[in-house]
Amino acid sequence: MTTQGIGAAVRRKEDRRFLLGKGNYVDDITLSNQSYAVFVRSMYAHAKITKIDTKAAKAAPGVLAVFTGDDVAADGLGTLPCGWLVKSKDGSNMVEPPHPALAQGKVRHVGDPVAMVIATSKAAARAAAGLVDVGYDVLPAIGLVNDAVKPGAPAVHDEAPNNLCYDWHIGDPAAVDAAFAKAAHVVDLDLTNNRLAPNAIEPRAAIGDYDVANDHYTLYTTSQNPHVIRLLMGAFTLHVPEHKLRVVAPDVGGGFGSKIFHYAEELMVTWASRKLGRPVKWTAERSESFLSDAHGRDHVTSAKLALDAGGKILGLRVRTLANLGAYLSTFGSSVPTYLYATLLSGPYDMPAIYAEVKAAFTNTVPVDAYRGAGRPEAAYVLERIMDKAARQIGMDRVEIRRKNLIRVDQFPYQTQVALQYDTGNYQATLDLALEQIDYPNYDKRKAASAAKGKLRGFGISTYIEACGIAPSAIAGALGARAGLYEAATVRVNPTGSVTVFTGTHSHGQGHETTFAQLVAEKLGMPVDNVDAAAVGGSAVVKALDKVIDKGKKIAAHLLEASAGDIEFKDGNYRVVGTDRAKAFGEIAFTAYVPHNYPIETLEPGLEESAYYDPKNFTFPGGCHLVEVEVDPDTGVVDVVDVAIADDVGTIINPMIVDGQAHGGLAQGIGQALYEEVRYDAAGQLTNGSYMDYCMPRAADLPNFKVGNHVTPCTHNPIGVKGVGECGAIGVPPAVINAVIDALTPLGVTDISMPATPEKVWRAIQAARTTTTTKKGG
């Protein structure tokens, strides 16, 4: 009997190579005769290109080639596609302006690639890049999304009037109007969800390697999903059949969404490798990452909540303006719509919802999925307005949530915004979180803080997320241009060890360990006997079931019994009710050395593949609690306690689940207090380095109290729901609610993310001035 199956805190198999510094990242790969690419990028947010003179660069030492948008166009390379079609209210398709791999005629954001310089060394390529003479005719630009939709705003794309990509909606406006008509309380809230840079620790990199002898392309890339990249490059950008294109994503040092998308550099190195007949490598520098990795969030939202006299929600109306950046990134269109507005019921029983989302182009880096992708934005709207409602009505913030949470007996719960939640227990996670933070003694802690001159605040967030996206048929009906199933192959080796192949890629989640644990659980073997190459879990389980079934037929033959009488348990096939048994290893060996084998009816070998298409989303959720201390003299917010209770479904490895929670919480606290990509009105990025862009660090964070209350998902074979994004979704509003709670006695009613020291200090000063004026008047 293995102790390494589902639920075991097995140490991560992959950590040995990472801790030894023996990971294999794209930048670690050096191919024979490799050349180096550097991209010349626009320093202007919006400009016409009047000329590109490459003569001096081409003549520079070591330079092999310089390519511009004209070369890209001449070879007929496709523009970077968007993977999700969103339709506007009037039924029209979203506006999809072309997104060329190198700018053609115009640049539309600082960092937009204009030319590609390839040389025999990176230093030579860099030096030559400085010699590319680009003439610009600078145009008025849009740096802030609010300015994009103002009358007379400069056009980012001629194809997009008023800079709108789409004007979309979901829900029932008439039902919401009726709810507001009978409301006892109406709560208004305007807020901004701050723009973030993904900042994976490994910058993006790509190597293109064209094999002229076989007319075959290989791309090594820092991708979260190499299969998607191969599909998009094959079909849309490079235009080569998939059997001629291999995409390899080796170890990847974090992605958080930013490495999902198909980027220009991947296409360019692959194409250039064919042009040059040698491998071409590109590795981003950190300042380049700020200017070329898709950013996240950047919503401006107005919300209104209608409640009855007792604090029960009657309806919600939301208007959001989402920034898409200068071009549509691969999934940019889906984030502010199907991954955001469909979550606006949160964990609450909401009888009426209507949301309108306008998505606008601006002269900024494209915006796309970033840890949580739409769901943090939804949770932030709901949890901020729930707190405001509590204050407005004079209700306890915990009680208003308790009153509105979907009850266990309401599952499956159909929301007013398309989703059907299969299962959950939101009261249980709320109670567990409150217990972990020792809520009854909060007042004592507040008094202790006050004795030190600090203002203590308590913040709560009860949130939900949607994971395991999605039934392909439903996604397709909503505009997805790709399937969302997963595939796995389980290969049992002749001596009984197992190799698992899946399409999902692990870039920090620990799949090599958790998938091995699934094998351990099913086949009763230690994880050391499993090599898992990387929503793959359910496909792995389906493939394992096929392996077990085939093994039964082999065992039946060897044990001279019928397959129906064979059971598989603890790694042994046994004739039910007897002591006649064969170990799994013997069956595997027999499958590959079929001397005594039912060869007439059964093929040799023991390798099975399975595809899993989800039946529904999964719905993790829970409660995040935060306590902060605010220094009223400086405005510094110190997060002193975080206690969370999540329901992530069945837990395969509790240690990995804790780690995922910790990372998500750090990023969520980062959004709430530290991180913000700042563009000025003219579209210049003003904090594109770690000297200015503040990432959360270990010393900024307290020890997290992480609890779990499991209600297994009802519609996948393992019962898993998902954990990676929970922290980034649940905790930002809890932090801000805690800051506002701390400052409420001073009269502060609002603070935006990130709650920087100066912002908090100014809010305190403004509130004091107002209070003084009132007293004086």
């Binding site: 230093a123 030096a127 300042s287 003299d633 400086t634 530290y674 700042r678 003003t686 904090n687 770690y690 000297m691 200015d692 862009y693 503040c694 990432m695 920087t756 020291p757 100066e758 200090w761 100014r762």
Partner: protein, 264 residues
Amino acid sequence: MKDFAFHRPASVKDAVALLRAHSSGKVLAGGQSLLPVLKLELAEPSDLVSLGQLKELRDIRVDGGKLAIGALATHDQVHHSAEVKKAIPALAHLAGGIGDAQVRNRGTIGGSVAHADPAADYPAALVGLGATVITDRRSIAADDFFTGLFTTALAADELVTAVQFPVPKRAAYAKFAHRASKYALVGVFVAETAGGVRVAVTGAGPKVFRLAAYEAALGKKLAPASLDGIAVSSADLNGDAEASAEYRAHLIGVMARRAIQALA
């Protein structure tokens, strides 16, 4: 990073000669500011003169009531030095708050002082304590040393060899760090010296400066309350997205009071 010639002189004299011979050369001490500048190609020196061989510049000693710290003493060395902790604990504390552990292990006091970053911590200690910068050819009072944004009284071929600090009665440094860079948004050094109370501010302006109004008030009574009612003008202070000039002016008052409370 552009190519450069690399020199490792064996003596201060040779180092100075090299700087004289290569007018667009730069001194490499700990490299914690210089290397990022080179990587970003904000400077393209023809030659780098590394001081790595000059081990005699790493010494820290107390002599005649003065603490002398060699130019190549690292921040970590100063932070952990028993002599510094005993003579001027505020200086050991300041050194321990510079950058991060990696920076403190490589960065040097001479490099920091010569670089004269307006948000560096050491300039506050030098000016706050009335220190003297010793070079290969002369002594320069700290009050005269820092002349502006990244500029000092050093000649192009002049090398800092040590910094000499008079030991104060009491001193303290309070810093409000930039959250991303960990440089001082505002750092205030307060010292009770033989010559009176000195207050030096770093991070807030284009260069380190003394606050005469604070010094006068604290000269009468060295207590936080002495600063009540003394406004700090934001007129000449730095303002940026991280902190406006007005906020920096406010923080000077807060940090000064905290330094006074921490005097030791």
